[in-house]
Symmetry: C2
Subunit: 462 residues, 2 copies
């Protein structure tokens, strides 16, 4: 293994180099993301509207389009110390194995018990809930990473935590449930009989294995119908991207320290929290015309919101009780086919990222899951880390780009986000090992059914 | 959270501060550990004897009682860079929660895919096997951490890896098996029909859930009956303690850098690899009369080799085909009761640690498993990390010592080894959450049965 003498294998920032403020990319966007709309009136939601569902300071962050930097409260920075800085790793072994002239770096967010970057926003949201004097929070979880992260954060601040877990994940990942219980959370498989919207969905679709959109509906109802509770969401929202900017800020500071400039920045995209956080400060430079970068969002071919979705207002949830967001969407009724493993199963995409993509500031690419697991296993064997299926979408694209460099001889610097570990995804790995994993591309007719169900009102595709 | 300005929350050594040689504590021991004996002749085994089972350079390390430092080959140091240095963490949050004047540090070895410190020795043993031109290696695994670690190491050096996994773990931990398969290993539940010794044990004890000692017998037979294979062991042996000294060397360098001196050093003890590695350089100072430390080995009350075992020559395996080691042992037929969760289930203990304990240089303590899981859950909620059951034995003792400081007002500095994470132990956590976990102390009669079966020959209790 050849190592550049000047660049450590892993770069850890020192405590005094850690970012003290989050970066709010919206402040530098000329074309701002469209506002959330009230589902009944189709009017932009203000602070009062949103405060029924979300914590007040988080609503401020959600609506803030002007401040480029927002200070990270000391209590959150204290918690960050438990598992941050995360390492920026030079993938020397992978480069050698691929025989590519490309230089590959990854920011690894999996070294914490939640197993992913989700903890970055969970602790912020729990902090503001505690500060507001709430009893607890409700949320949904798919693959279980967000629910675990929120359980940890709530345990730290002694808040109650109610998690609605997509039924198929609840059944496939009983151990995730036990991790959440270790941190004192209550976990309910969704759809459930515990909410009106859950009862309705069960009646309409008996035997459904659930979806993120459906679990969101239940969690929102549980928050708004219980005194002293608010709803928190692990992705999609502006506030979440803001908190996740810690990933990009650390990465950029580490790279600047060693005079490294990435040419291509790659992230997997479900709701967009990791991708949005990773690219934030780099996108800021691009928006301000200071530097140029290629950004690539990688999504599952079985849930292709960027690459095959519509840019329109849509509900964030299946039950249609949430605010409307302008985003790339497959329709709130869209559910990925049953053979899709892991997360990245949300029907929509962050409004901020959707606007950036719409404006041609980033690219998107869909990859099929057997190719993703091939990349995952290759990466595990070469770089040691067993990646989450979600993260492996970014690995797939990074390897593909590195192999392109091999063809062209270009010495590009590739940065990708390795969002988490796959320790709770061994059922999917087992299918892959046994040759039982398959790919699925939704048909045009299936997608059209989702588009037909999009809400229609003046300006909905505005 | 109050933080000492001078001491980071987590201390990571820089690349140029990393140890370049392992420390061999035997060089500083006046009373050397007793040699391995040939089970047939009861004579000390030399290089030739041992080379039938182990790789040659590892045999040299096994027998080396004179060199205090042995250089770490560059290839191993390269691999170490993937997951080392491991952080030395100041448990500020735990201290605050306990309201103790004690200062608590832990060396966390769980941030790698094997989930534990076992990778430190696995990569060394795989390296020497590769260097010797072998096709592959065989081994046993209990909780699965060692097997996973060895699979990763063999994958890195492109070696075949045959793992015999204790049947009860194989069944309770199917996901561990899939991790090993991800790294290309073959995994067989033990006892199995694939070896003569496995067949014999199955005949004598039909329906047995297996034991480490039994899996060792099978792995040794598989190594010696297949051309181009050798056997590797994840604990107990001198060579393993040597490799694991990287834990203690990193810890000591990090502490020295910030002028921290531990008063008490605590580690969990199964075969002794983590404890031996953690304490090595500190014990060296004690042996050389330079400094004094209290060392505490913590073992399960259900498998109490130090606290209730005999210091005598015994077989390392159930099938009695392995060399005899002088150690604290419960007898090679001893199997912990079925309600015992997790690892630390070996009937014996490292000869080196046994000698040190026998000579009064360290203490030992047995703890019951419900108390261990209470400490585990408390630690998870306060420090964020979900610990392995094994590691939680050390947490239990560290908390107990910190609470003693609270009573006495002493500001002691406590260091403990946090060997790994519990992501694959959620069945045990679930039992704990559901109130279904119990404790078991072996009766004197049960222990006596094990002692009665100890090999008897002149000098066996030396």
């Amino acid at each position: 293994m050849k190592q550049d003498d000047q660049i450590p294998y892993k770069i850890y920032l020192r405590e005094n180099e850690m970012p003290a403020a989050w970066y709010n990319v919206r402040a530098d966007m000329k074309q701002k993301p469209a506002p959330l709309l009230n589902p009944a009136t189709h009017q932009p939601m203000g602070k009062e509207d949103l405060s029924a569902v979300f914590c007040e300071e988080l609503v401020d962050q959600e609506l803030n389009e002007t401040d480029a930097y927002i200070e990270i409260p000391q209590e959150i920075r204290n918690f960050y110390k438990m598992y941050r800085p995360s390492p920026l790793v030079r993938a020397y072994c992978l480069e050698e194995k691929l025989q590519t002239p490309a230089k590959i770096y990854y920011k690894f967010e999996g070294n914490n018990t939640s197993g992913s970057h989700k903890l970055n926003s969970a602790i912020a949201q729990a902090y503001y809930a505690k500060k507001q004097g709430l009893k607890g929070v409700t949320t949904e979880t798919g693959a279980g990473q967000w629910g675990t992260a929120l359980s940890m954060a709530c345990s730290y601040f002694d808040l109650d935590c109610k998690v609605y877990m997509v039924k198929v994940s609840y059944e496939q990942k009983p151990f995730r449930r036990e991790v959440m219980r270790t941190y004192g959370a209550s976990v309910t498989p969704s759809p459930s009989e515990t909410t009106a919207v859950g009862q309705r969905i069960l009646k309409e679709h008996p035997g459904t294995s659930g979806s993120l959109g459906c679990a969101i509906s239940e969690a929102v109802e549980a928050a708004t119908s219980n005194e002293g509770y608010r709803y928190v969401l692990g992705s999609v929202l502006n506030q979440v991207l803001l908190h996740q900017s810690i990933i990009g800020l650390e990465t950029k500071r580490a790279m600047d320290k060693y005079n490294i400039t990435p040419d291509i920045i790659i992230g997997c995209a479900g709701g967009g929290s990791n991708l949005g956080g990773l690219i934030a400060p780099f996108m800021g430079e691009k928006l301000r015309g200071e530097k140029d970068y290629r950004f690539i969002a990688v999504e599952p071919a079985s849930c292709p919101s960027f690459t095959r979705g519509k840019f329109a207002y849509d509900f964030c949830d299946t039950g249609n009780i949430c605010p409307l967001a302008k985003m790339y969407t497959l329709g709130s009724s869209f559910i990925p086919s049953a053979n899709h493993a892991g997360g990245l199963r949300f029907h929509g995409m962050s409004s901020t990222l959707s606007q950036l993509y719409h404006d041609g500031l980033m690219e998107a690419r869909a990859v099929e899951q057997t190719a993703v697991f091939e990349a995952a296993e290759q990466f595990a064997r070469i770089e040691g880390i067993l990646p989450a299926p979600e993260s492996s979408h970014a690995i797939r694209a990074a390897i593909d780009e590195a192999m392109r460099c091999k063809e062209t001889g270009e010495e590009k610097t590739i940065l990708f986000g390795l969002t988490g570990t796959g320790y709770f995804d061994m059922v999917a790995y087992e299918k892959f090992h046994n040759g039982e994993m398959s790919d699925y591309l939704p048909t045009d007719a299936e997608l059209q059914a989702g588009f037909d169900a999009l809400p229609k009102f003046p300006g909905c595709e505005g």
